[in-house]
Amino acid sequence: MSAQLPDTAELVIIGAGPAGMAAAIEARAAGAEVMLLDETPAAGGQIWRAVGTAPEARKALLGKEYAAGAALVSDFAACGAHHASGVSVWGVMPDGTGPIHVGVSESGAAGMIETRAVILATGAQERPLPVPGWTLPGVMGAGAAQIALKSGGLLPEGRCVLAGVGPLLYLLADQLLRAGVTPAALVETPSPRRRAALPHLPDFLRTPAFLKGAGLIARVRRRIPVITGAEALEITGESRAEALRYRRAGSWHEIPADLVLLHAGVVPSLNLAVAAGVPTRWNAVLRCFEPETDAAGATDLPGLFIAGDGAGIGGAERALPSGRRAAQAALAQLGREVDPLAAAEAQRQWHRADRGRAFIDRWFAPPPSLLAPQGETIACRCEEVPASAIRDAARLGAPGPNQIKTYLRCGMGPCQGRMCAASVTEIMADESGRDPADLGHLRFRTPVRPLSLAELAQLPAGEAARRAALGDAALPETPLPLPDRSS
């Protein structure tokens, strides 16, 4: 393992976004020894990606909320946590009441860190939007375009269309407009829960997000065509995206496009938590599975906590107090003192940040029909499993998504189900009429990130493992015959 990483830590935090950084600062203030692991080069997470190094002009066009992240990044840098960047975490392995082992990989070398408490702050991923043609080059997530802008100053070139549902579509359109890029259109799908959102409107009206959001939507609508009520989407093109087609009031329309940016909200990143053994629950409003935690982020597994969007989508502002609360819970478990006032304050902040979420969650809910594709539309991108095959397999009477995976390999490719798990459940639910809550989701396993066999083979192993893996036979004592990588 690399010289940079020690092999033990009092508290390990995974993810350097708002929740992870807030947790680290809180834990350091209480005197805990903190190691924060993150796979990107710099702290900030996706929301504040590269904020520490972004030029002022780029910060200005990305907006105040983005620029505000710089303060937390510098507080984090000064807090005394060991920040290991560029490290991928392939497993979190709790061992009952004993220590937790965190499997890491850095520059092609795998290792294990032993710790007493882990806070998963791995955030969210964009909800996959499996529409016809979504595997073509030139189709990306709207969040991906935003990451390209934050991390490399990349702007869409040529005709760009935003499609789907969610506040991010408007935020991104506004940021692009400020940067001098005029999207050809924003095509919005209908949200089935708008009526259910209305009772939560008064609460939302009292939040700063209301004024900001209303202004933003108005600005975008003034500058680019916004098409609402698109019931179905598809992307056409030979070897890359050429047009976005949408169906509205029963008839199809086409917008030529070089870049189609899809979005249907974000969902918790589940792989590490589920592989560690944390059970999940179905959130019917957000239409996604979430890890089961208590209000502070504690799971049923001793020493394992989840903070921020990874515990349930709440946005960056709620992720900060969520990180603090998880840190306080972890500190208590580590036997360190937690200031009751600080705990109360974090809880108060959490509730303040949560205000208005109930409205936003419902107002921008994606239509289930868009999430459960039909026909030849690819559901599993890695193994190219079409929706029709999943529907066909579901009709055999499979008890759940994992049997479909056995039949068809969906979820067995390199992304390990990140891009299709939701679709497999949605399609089965649609086909069988059963509730996603009962169907469950594809099981994720350690390692959640690929490891080379050479890396894996060099992990230390004890005598019990040796007996289990090799029986009476022994491996030679000579060094492993590893082929030359540079060949």
């Binding site: 030139g138 990451i147 490399g152 890359r240 991108r381 193994e383 990588r485």
Partner: protein, 102 residues
């Protein structure tokens, strides 16, 4: 699909895609540098051979798998460019045997 914003760029770094030089900026991810360099096809699918390109740019979709400095199937969105980095597109699955690679 992408161009760079007009904000003064960082230091230029040259990388090679299938032997052709591409100008990147220090700090770019490999995927970002290739997108800025006008690359649209990153690999061909291991199942059907269809062209693929990054979808998420945050390590989730595994669409940007490339051979980087001789190591196959690396996520180009998670690797930071280094001067002279050699990147090759993968057509189908990477080869079991190194000598079969070009």
């Amino acid at each position: 699909m992408f161009r760079r914003d007009p904000i003064p760029p960082g230091e230029a770094v040259e990388i090679l895609l299938d032997g052709q030089p591409i100008s990147a900026r220090r700090g770019d991810s490999v995927a970002g540098a290739l997108l800025a360099g006008g690359v649209t096809r990153f690999r061909d699918s291991v199942v059907s051979g269809a062209p693929r390109a990054p979808y998420c740019l945050m390590g989730t979709c595994f669409e940007c798998l490339m051979t980087i400095d001789g190591v196959a199937n690396r996520q180009a969105c998670l690797v930071t460019v280094e001067p002279g980095m050699r990147i090759t597109r993968q057509s189908g699955a990477p080869s079991l045997l190194p000598e079969a690679e070009t």
